[in-house]
């Protein structure tokens, strides 16, 4: 009663070795995939440095960084939201609303100028979060409504956008334009907030709940993750960060400009996705988002360095670049061949 055993040794051992090798390459490829945006950023920066003498200058770098600060904050919030599998379209409107509110509140001092936009945008975030978490309406549509609502609110408090509140506090103003070690305060703020964000996402239970909710909402609930609370919090964070971005921008511009922010949500989404975060949720990194934000800024800077690119070509180039980066990302990800 001996079953026919065909020589098992060779193939089995070979496969086992194969599997080990596969796991090693998996890890390398996964690193490149996760940090793919960083790799692309390095390449782009090298190219820019070689081609444009001005690109190298410290001032130019500082300007690019300061300009990227608001988008960076917004993209940070968006990263959390997208990792939970959601999306927040309201950030562009909240950013403008935050700026207007901040400029208005600056008449009472620096602290109100920061707090007022945080409170108002945070409240909209709470509303978004509650509607999404408790009524199971699609995040896309809830935050689309919030986009309209927040813009309407901004117009309503600024006399249909025609009143621009000027920043009254010189201290607040100098926060926007001043610098430390040659680099603007907003950039330092962004660095601190990002560091906190990274710790929060990677090293706390909340951060892991965020991943879990995005990975599988039902499973996370059954494993005892507070799914709804996590969701509410990410939208609150996103709202708060959009408000903060609005505040630092108001400080920089010295006024609550009302004609900003159209389409900023899409820039933020693009930055996050370029950074390797999956729109389906469950995976993503903050370092990737930083790289994504900087990539967008550097590309814009390069277009400016060229000097005379007509406006229509600028858009064409941005679109093409976006496509190339995202396609490259996807191919890197595919190499992982997860089954």
């Amino acid at each position: 009663m001996t079953p026919m055993v065909s020589d098992p040794e060779a193939p089995a051992a070979a496969v086992a070795a194969d599997v080990r090798r596969a796991e090693r390459t998996d890890r390398v490829v996964s690193l490149v995939q996760r940090q793919g945006a960083l790799a692309v950023l390095v390449v782009v920066v090298l190219v820019a440095t070689a081609s444009f003498p001005n690109f190298r200058s410290f001032d130019n770098a500082a300007t690019v960084l300061v300009a990227a600060a608001p988008l960076a904050l917004i993209a940070l919030g968006m990263t959390f939201v997208i990792i939970t599998g959601g999306i927040d379209l309201s950030v562009g409107s909240l950013y403008v609303l935050g700026g207007v509110v901040s400029a208005y509140a600056s008449q009472w001092g620096v602290l109100p100028a920061f707090l007022a936009p945080l409170v108002i945008c945070g409240l909209v975030g709470v509303l978004n979060g509650i509607l999404i978490a408790y009524t199971r309406m699609a995040p896309f549509i809830v935050t689309l409504a919030a986009l309209l609502g927040a813009r309407g609110l901004m117009r309503a408090i600024s006399d249909e956008g025609s009143t621009t509140y000027l920043v009254q506090s010189d201290a607040f103003r100098s926060f926007g334009t001043g610098s430390f070690l040659g680099i603007g305060y907003p950039v330092w703020l962004v660095v601190v907030v990002f560091a906190l964000g990274m710790v929060l996402l990677a090293r706390t239970r909340f951060g892991h709940s965020v991943y879990a909710v995005g990975g599988s909402e039902d499973a996370a609930a059954l494993m005892g993750v507070a799914v709804r609370r996590t969701k509410v919090w990410v939208y609150v964070m996103s709202g708060l960060l959009a408000g903060l971005a609005g505040a630092i921008n108001a400080a920089k511009l010295g006024s609550g400009v009302t004609v900003l922010g159209i389409g900023l949500e899409l820039d933020a989404i693009a930055a996050v996705v370029i950074g390797g975060t999956l729109l389906t949720g469950g995976a993503g990194t903050i370092t990737g988002t930083i790289a994504g934000v900087l990539l967008l800024g550097v590309i814009q800077n390069m277009i400016n360095q060229v000097g005379n690119v007509p406006s229509s070509y600028q858009q064409l180039i941005s679109g093409g670049f976006l496509a190339v980066v995202v396609v490259a990302q996807t191919y890197l990800a595919k190499l992982r061949r997860v089954t």
Partner: protein, 322 residues
């Protein structure tokens, strides 16, 4: 289409109304808004007024039809506005060869954009929102490059007839939109393609394993969406009698998505409500018209729109069921 209601006890029962509301909430909202206008807006029921509302909603409806199909596959297409701009930019360039040639060229542009979007989604495997974001940004740039940024007046009578002429008492625009609604409804209900599209939205891996050529179907869906958008683009040109690549179709992707979702099509795919989409577009049109007629500022229009979207979608949201 597949919403079966549970047999319930006779008499006035809430369950029946509850089951009915999600599917027909939009229609109820339209009725309410019309009643309000009849009472408070002078001249609302005049044919001229109704006509204008139909004309204005037609391009949104056309774009939303394509969007509904894409959303049915659990996708989304942000590039529709740029496609409209591309179509608009191409029209004046080729009008010299006749209206037909110009229309064909802009439709071909739609096909090409659809192929790119579809390929990125189906073959490369990009998330639809990102795949179409590239053309959302780049497409309008291309349109501006093509048109040289110049707004061009259109003097071609045949084209203008499409935009503002009447046929059998109804504007051409409305005829065309109605025809497209019927075509899309027919596609969804009666064709193999329609069933496959819904299955992909319902469960893509399963549909793939069932031997359905998923990639081909997806690419076709994006092509249809883009072609519909380019039709909307050329109709917009015909209607405003000029081609302005920088303005045409601006932000229409949001209006179209709103119409689709307010009309009861879930963003999660697997179902498409064609008539609901039309109703969704009409509802949003009526909201804007009402606000304009009462001369309210744009801030309040936006806030009312936000509220209506939330209410409509809340009423239509899927109850959790597994």
């Amino acid at each position: 289409m597949t919403s079966e209601s549970v047999a319930t006890r006779p008499g006035v029962d809430l369950a029946r109304i509850k089951a009915w509301l999600p599917a027909y909430g939009v229609y109820a909202a339209i009725v309410l808004l019309v009643l309000y206008n009849v009472a408070f807006t002078p001249n609302f029921l005049a044919w001229g007024n109704l006509r204008i509302q139909l004309i204005q909603v037609a391009p949104v409806v056309i774009v939303a039809l394509g969007m509904a199909l894409v959303i049915g596959t659990e996708g989304i297409d942000l590039s529709v506005g740029s496609v409209m701009a591309l179509a608009a930019a191409l029209i004046p360039l080729y009008l010299g060869y006749g209206v037909i040639a110009a229309i064909l060229i802009s439709l071909i542009a739609g096909v090409l954009v659809g192929l790119v979007n579809g390929t990125l989604v189906a073959r490369v495997g990009l998330q639809p929102i990102v795949a179409t974001l590239a053309l959302f940004v780049g497409g309008r740039g291309l349109a501006l490059v093509i048109s040289g940024g110049q707004l061009k007046d259109i003097g071609n009578d045949d084209l203008i007839f499409l935009g503002s002429g009447d046929f059998l008492g109804l504007p051409m625009l409305v005829w065309i939109a109605a025809l497209l609604v019927l075509v899309v409804a027919f596609i969804v209900r009666r064709t193999v393609f329609g069933r496959r599209l819904l299955a992909i939205g319902g469960n893509r891996p399963a549909t793939e394993l069932a031997g359905v050529p998923v990639k081909r179907v997806l690419i076709t869906v994006y092509v249809i969406c883009s072609v519909l958008a380019s039709i909307a683009g050329l109709l917009a040109v015909a209607r405003i009698q000029s081609s302005d690549a920088s303005a045409v179709g601006l932000l229409i992707e949001l209006s179209a998505i709103t119409a689709v979702v307010v009309g009861g099509t879930p963003l999660t795919g697997g179902r498409v409500r064609v008539l609901g989409t039309v109703a969704g577009a009409l509802l949003m049109q009526l909201v804007v018209a009402t606000m304009i007629k009462h001369n309210l500022p744009s801030s309040s229009t936006e806030m009312v729109q936000a509220a209506i979207i939330l209410i409509a979608v809340y009423a239509a949201r899927e109850r959790k069921s597994r």
